[in-house]
């Protein structure tokens, strides 16, 4: 293409017009802090780990686990605790490994993939954590309903049919998860929209 060759010739002849920074100006630059997207992703990811894992701690502090023991669910409580910390540790380790893999000296494609993977790990953690919390809540509710007289005692007082309780819980949970998904789309979108677009563009095979 003639035009591009012309551009190349011109491009090369313009080196002299480029700005020239002095040794001191460059030196000052290396003392400054980065404001790259990787730094933001790291910060937000750490905040998310702290936030989501603290839900478990909050539930503990609120004394809900004591209730489980009264109900005769001690074993369930121990297993779910081990599982939830296992999940947390597994994802933190994966996140750390992915984060360490981010190197600006890799090719553009590998770099983008590693950044996206780091973000994906956090996203997976959040969903696994929510599913786990929902599942344990469901198990406890079921147990209370079918194996103890807690529910019967309560419903006799308030006169609420069982299906209303179940439908309401499912609806509340659905709305909660829906809102969260929306929030995620926004936060995740802002952080990685450009990155994803570029990654797809790079991977795309032209025909």
């Amino acid at each position: 293409m003639d035009e591009l060759e012309l551009l190349k010739k011109d491009w090369k002849s313009r080196d002299s017009e480029l700005p020239k920074l002095s040794y001191n100006e460059i030196y000052k630059m290396i003392l400054k802090k980065s404001s790259s997207i990787v730094k933001w992703i790291f910060l937000i990811s750490v905040i998310e780990f702290v936030l989501w894992s603290s839900i478990d701690i909050m539930v503990r502090l609120s004394g809900e686990y004591d209730d489980l023991e009264i109900l005769g669910l001690e074993n369930f409580s121990v297993i779910s605790t081990i599982l939830s910390y296992g999940i947390l540790i597994y994802f933190i380790v994966r996140f750390y490994i992915n984060y360490k893999n981010i190197k600006t000296t890799d090719s553009a494609s590998v770099l983008m993939k590693n950044i996206l993977n780091t973000r994906k790990t956090v996203k997976q953690y959040v969903w696994v954590n929510i599913s786990f919390l929902s599942l344990t809540t469901l198990v406890v509710i079921m147990y209370m309903t079918f194996y103890t007289d807690t529910y019967e005692a309560q419903s006799a007082d308030q006169n609420i049919p069982l299906y209303v309780v179940i439908i309401t819980s499912v609806l509340v949970l659905a709305v909660f998860i829906g809102l969260l998904a929306l929030l995620y789309r926004v936060v995740y979108g802002i952080l990685t929209r450009r990155l994803k677009k570029n990654y797809q563009e790079l991977q795309k095979l032209e025909v």
């Binding site: 551009l7 190349k8 290396i30 090719s107 095979l205």
Partner: protein, 164 residues
């Protein structure tokens, strides 16, 4: 030890700063954004420098880190202006250098390059810097065939922008 490293890095970068400026030129439209991106690239180069073992030339290594920063790590600041405003600001062409036709054509070419997406800009940049398809493919992390195909597509796209 740290002082030595700082000194060798700053000296190297000072000598090769043109590469970074040229990346900034392709990816930004005003002097402020240019400086912003230059700053971020410098930080990323400095962060990666302790692991630079000299297997490749300093300049080759710089192309990779600089482009990666521009495409992937850099968060575009809000103040970057619209393409239509940049026009002759950054690529002033003096009348005595070229005849009118060539001058006009080059102006349009630079404007057309500015309209490309991030990946296409990287391809054009490496092409303008006389990199082989093998090097382009390695820098971008795609196959050589894909690099050639993509480059051809960019050429077609540029043609379309120029002759709508």
């Amino acid at each position: 030890m740290k002082k030595e490293l700082e000194h060798s890095f700053v000296t190297n970068l000072e000598q090769n700063q043109n590469i970074v400026h040229k990346v900034c030129r392709i990816y930004t439209n005003d002097p402020e954004s240019h400086n912003d991106l230059f700053q971020e690239i410098t930080i990323q180069l400095w962060k990666a420098y302790p692991k630079f073992r000299g297997e490749s030339k300093f300049s080759t290594w710089m192309y990779r880190v600089s482009l990666n920063t521009a495409i992937t790590l850099y968060r575009k600041s809000k103040r970057s202006i619209k393409t239509s405003d940049f026009d002759a600001m950054d690529f002033k062409i003096t009348a005595e250098e070229y005849d009118d036709g060539v001058e006009q054509q080059l102006k349009l070419m630079y404007a057309a390059v500015k309209q490309l997406n991030d990946i296409e800009k990287a391809l054009v940049f490496l092409y303008l810097e006389d990199k082989s398809y093998k090097e382009i493919a390695e820098t971008m992390g795609i196959s050589e065939v894909n690099a050639r195909v993509k480059m051809n597509r960019v050429k077609t796209k540029l043609k379309k922008i120029l002759n709508p």
